[in-house]
Chain length 343, copies 2
DNA sequence: GTGAAAGCGCTAACAG
DNA sequence: CTGTTAGCGCTTTCAC
């Protein structure tokens, strides 16, 4: 059973394809097509179970009605949540969403973007980039290609962007720890470390220390590696908790690191927060009931998703690249892992 | 700057579009096109940054090179992980993946499937269905539309399916609890309750009780509601822990319920596992470091994803619906929440 | 070895 | 109010 096309409807009704197209695209009224004819057409379309072929339509109009999302790893709950809202928001506008994971590999991300844009002809891209070089994006910009960055900015590249105030979020967290009497505060960073969001967090951390007259000790800032997360985290935590360093708190730079940090701390039989406090940038549902419930800096994921769609659609409708930035506030969520009393 | 088309290459080289198409699709050799011409064409394509337009190609060939995935909620880590492997697997085959969430709403799922198939012309569908009625799927089957179910089966509908042995997984978990001296074992189910996977888990639970000579008490099986998860779980847990019921363990039917169950138990100031054991079907990374680390039944998510792609591709290549079932084993992961010693 | 031409299903300019 | 026509970019049959 072949699928019905415009032609089938037209022939069955002895009218032209144009007429049918007009009716089905709700342009009948502005062309003054009689109510009666319209009814006839709609009825037949229903009867034949007609659906427009997006590929044909897209070919003709140059619109694929698809947008693309590229993140590091869609199974990271942070991105999964964002993707969910993005899907929801674009669906309301008749668009579909193609999601890809770059695995934090620059070449892979470039390839993905190429594929999405040049082969699938997605109409715009939302990306949490892992790239350090703006070359590919400059290309897109030059071609007025709709693009919005989320979560991570690219140094020296001006574009639409939706993210949070990482610096302030980290600052508040560290300040909270300090106010609870801690002074030796460690941070667990992750490489690749060129990511803007992560650097801002580290800066916020350092600024808070400085502001409160605590001299930063470079041993306090350890870095773990994305590709060997488990081992490198264990090492880093060992270092931070060694007698010579002996931090009172560990601030993990994101949820991914937090998970492995908790594991490492537990493995070392250290108690949280008695032996060491552990806090984290990024909140997960799971952190509500982790052992112990984690104090975190939460990002407004729904808003990030919704806002990014808004900015992208503005560009798509205007048929051009444009710059507009939205920095959303974070929320400090105090639970038990920082040893402070629940306020 | 317009995008380069076949025609542009052809004109620049004074050859025909056909020739260019043949070369670029690696059919040049079988047509005996000279090495030299081929080189010329490839070089020019590179130069003009040519990429085939998928919509045009799709229109001509009837292949969209896209497949669709429909799940309840893509931000549920269980589905996110599966989607990740599916994306990876289909990408290797030159396909893209369109993911949609049904929110456990039957009408929404039907609409989504319609959209994906009839408008986007995805070449096949992988779905964790929430539907109770096989009507839509029977339609697809009749039309030989490639389709594979994952996670959940539809009663009375025969299709390709990839999932786990839910019954056995649940059975093993309950048996483990019994061997650790528990007899009053509660289960937290979730509505909509028609889902095959969930029912199988409940059956496994009951069978284990029976096998070990424990008479099932209907108060032990409480149900919470997807749409009001927090309140209903609190209520259900209260009931299970009330003096008159007083279960020694709570077996939650999936990760979603587990999260809220833990919260409810904590809110009631009950200790796990001293006051009550809590265990769960589905494993999450997060359960490694939850409070306390949870004993779970883990599903092989990667395998589920990879296998579903394999079954779907078989249908797509064969251009027809076909039936093939793959039931994968679960793994009992014993942590601390069940009170048993770590073996 | 290579090219001409048709046509996938749709929309939009233009004609009447 | 409705129809004719052209063409989006590609693949494929057939012809030379």
């Amino acid at each position: 059973m072949k699928r019905a096309s415009l032609k089938d409807i037209a022939e069955a009704l002895n009218v032209s394809k144009t007429l049918v197209s007009l009716v089905l695209n709700n342009k009948a009224d502005e062309w003054g097509i009689s109510e009666e004819t319209q009814k006839k057409v709609r009825k037949k379309a229903e009867e034949l179970n007609y659906y427009p072929n997006q590929m044909a339509r897209g070919l003709r109009t140059g619109k694929s009605n698809i947008i693309g999302l590229v993140v590091a790893d869609i199974s990271n709950p942070f991105y999964a949540k964002i993707s969910r809202t993005i899907e929801f928001e674009v669906a309301r506008l008749g668009y579909h969403l193609l999601v890809c994971s770059s695995d934090e590999v620059e070449e892979k991300e470039m390839k993905l973007i190429e594929l999405l844009r040049d082969r699938q002809r997605v109409e715009g891209l939302i990306v949490a980039t892992t790239q350090q070089n703006a070359e590919q994006f400059n290309q897109l910009k030059k071609q007025q290609y709709p693009l919005v960055f989320i979560d991570r900015k690219l140094d020296g590249f001006t574009s639409s962007f939706v993210g949070v105030d990482n610096n302030k979020g980290a600052y508040q967290m560290v300040e909270h720890l300090i106010k609870n009497g801690m002074r030796k505060i460690g941070m667990l960073n992750i490489s690749p470390m060129h990511l803007s969001s992560l650097n801002e967090r580290v800066d916020g951390y350092k600024e808070a220390l400085k502001k409160h007259g605590i001299k930063f000790n470079s041993d306090w800032l350890q870095s773990v590696s994305y590709n060997d997360i488990s081992n490198t985290t264990t090492e880093a935590v060992k270092k931070l908790l060694s007698p010579s360093v002996g931090v009172q708190a560990i601030f993990t730079i994101n949820n991914y690191v937090a998970v492995h940090c908790l594991q490492a701390v537990h493995k070392m039989k250290k108690r949280i927060p008695e032996d060491v406090a552990v806090v984290c940038f990024d909140d997960l549902d799971a952190f509500n009931f982790s052992h112990p419930p984690l104090t975190t800096v939460a990002q407004p994921v729904e808003e990030i998703g919704a806002e990014s769609v808004r900015l992208l659609m503005k560009q798509i409708d205007g048929k051009k690249f444009s710059v507009s930035e939205k920095i959303l506030p974070t929320t400090l969520i105090i639970r038990e892992s920082c040893g402070s009393l629940l306020a």
